[in-house]
């Protein structure tokens, strides 16, 4: 495939005077798993709806595999699988029939549909429900079938709009497992989310938006590198006392200290690996028996919050 699979250029969308997407330009590179991050109302879903022909653009362009989705939606969506918001299913159809319906729309042969249906339902762990009508399925089950239909035709691009939104913890865990599986395969994935740990866990690239404008884009590693503030989580043998916390708070570089358990505490640290290693030594010099000392996975959150704050 030539070129980048998703190219958004100066995309704008207005709703009765309100600008939901504002001159947004973004490129998603081949084979990447891009997390599209932003707070509620940032324009993530609007952008995805334009990409999937659910909304028209007020200006700019959006291309999928080099085809303008606004001008030629049928051709542009041919190699795309999408889960937008939490779709509802036709309650009178089973997952097998739903996948057959969508497969036939995409021109898949019966053999192809049968083969791929087995694979994708297995991937989302819905095989035993394949012949039950979807009407009575839970939200989590529907979301898994939704992801299955997005993979059915072996698309080159998968677009996911907050795939764990509205799910219970188990449902979220199951969907994250599926996302990790997708990551191993030959897809370019564009996923919106406001769950930073989710993005940091599964995505290779990140784009941050707020108020419809792109704030930052790059690989997760690059952005984490730029995030100079880290949240550090420490577990010790000793129980956290007020006195001990007071001593820790006096260590140079410790910010926003708080106990997070009987023998756990968290703090923010400005600096890179060198400063992080130094801090461990300082904590140990206080007599702390450190059991674990790790970044809490919220480094991206620090960057995100600072960028969001700056964009206001």
């Amino acid at each position: 495939m030539l070129g980048d699979p998703i190219v958004i250029q100066s995309l704008t969308k207005d709703f009765n005077g309100f600008r939901a997407v504002d001159d947004l330009s973004l490129t998603v590179r081949q084979g990447s798993f891009l997390g599209f991050l932003g707070p509620n109302g940032a324009g993530k879903t609007t952008t995805i709806k334009i990409l999937t022909n659910l909304l028209s653009a007020s200006g700019g362009s959006a291309s999928l595999n080099g085809i303008d989705v606004v001008q030629h939606p049928k051709e542009a969506l041919a190699q795309v699988g999408a889960v937008v918001e939490t779709p509802e299913f036709y309650p009178y159809l089973t997952p097998n029939e739903t996948l057959a319906y969508l497969g036939e729309i995409r021109g898949m042969s019966k053999e192809d549909i049968s083969r791929r249906t087995k694979v994708v339902l297995e991937t989302v762990k819905m095989t035993e429900w394949a012949d039950k009508r979807i009407g009575k399925f839970s939200k989590g089950m529907k979301q898994r079938v939704a992801i299955a239909q997005a993979m059915l035709h072996e698309p080159s691009v998968i677009i996911l709009d907050e795939p764990t939104s509205g799910l219970d913890p188990r449902g979220m865990y199951e969907v994250r497992e599926i996302l990790s599986e997708l990551k191993k395969q030959d897809y370019t994935i564009f996923m919106s989310s406001h769950l930073l740990n989710e993005v940091q866990e599964v995505c290779s690239d990140v784009a941050l938006i707020n108020r419809g404008r792109l704030l930052k884009t790059g690989s997760v590693e690059e952005l984490l590198e730029q995030a100079s503030v880290k949240r550090i989580e420490v577990r010790t043998i000793q129980q956290m006392s007020g006195e001990l916390l007071n001593s820790i708070s006096k260590i140079e570089g410790v910010q926003e200290l708080r106990a997070s358990g009987e023998n756990q505490f968290m703090f923010s640290l400005t600096g890179k690996d060198q400063e992080q290693a130094q801090m461990l030594l300082r904590l140990q010099s206080l007599g702390l028996n450190v059991v674990s000392y790790k970044e809490s996975g919220l480094a991206l959150e620090s960057l995100y919050m600072s960028l969001i704050k700056d964009s206001r």
Binding site: F15, K49, S56, V80, E104, R106, H153, S156, D186
Partner: protein
Amino acid sequence: MSETNVNAASRAARELPSDLQQVGVVAKYDIMKYLRSRRLLGMLIIEAIVLIAITALLATSNNPKTADGVVGQYAGFATILIVIGATLFGGDAIVSEYQGRTGYLLFPNPIKKVSIIVGKFISSVAAMVLILAIYYAIALVAGLVMGNGFSTLGLASLGLAILYGISALAVAFLISSFMKGTAGSLILTFALFFFVLDIISSIMGSLGGIKPWFLVNFAGTSLSYVTTDPYPVDTIQSLDIGAGQSMTFYYFYPDVGLSIAVMAVYAVVALVLAYLIFRRREMSA
């Protein structure tokens, strides 16, 4: 060959179906909806009740009967079935994709909205034709049994009933294309055909002396009059109500040829408008 290469080869080999082929796919799965839904079952129950009631009345009546007369009795109630059918099969055809959020599943696929609406319309028409075919089949058999002959005018009535059904469905699709809720769309469709258009045609015809030939419900009544031989003609009657005053009554009957044209125009125009609205409608909620 690696899995990646298999995927790429499989994708390359697959071509999208034509718009027409996709119409067939949408129609096929939409027909499945009717076959599995309570709506078709409910419609068949209503039809059975109407058929039993009319047959019982005719069977117990001692008046001399002709085949056309018998079928005409049934045809008189066909318009009600058509209104109910248009409501159930077309009243929420489009709006349900938005309110029910199934549009989030269907619309991001490589399919044009014209294929979706035409596919849905074909399935609605198929359900309507099924209902009318069963109804008229029983009416024609009743004509054979009670009227001792086959009613060729009954066949003409069936043809007009199908055309009226199609035009009513097209109007239902139009309503469904701009309404925000399914309940409102169903109610508006039913109310429009059941009494709103009737009130308008009554006011125009009986009181204003204007023949409402351009109203689809008036044109639709031709399916009933076509079974009468000779076909009724427009009449104007003046009735002396005393004190030197009189009241004029107008009895208008639809011209069959003109009614066919009117119903066809309603079907085409309403469906095209429904498509244009559907095409522009966004999945914004």
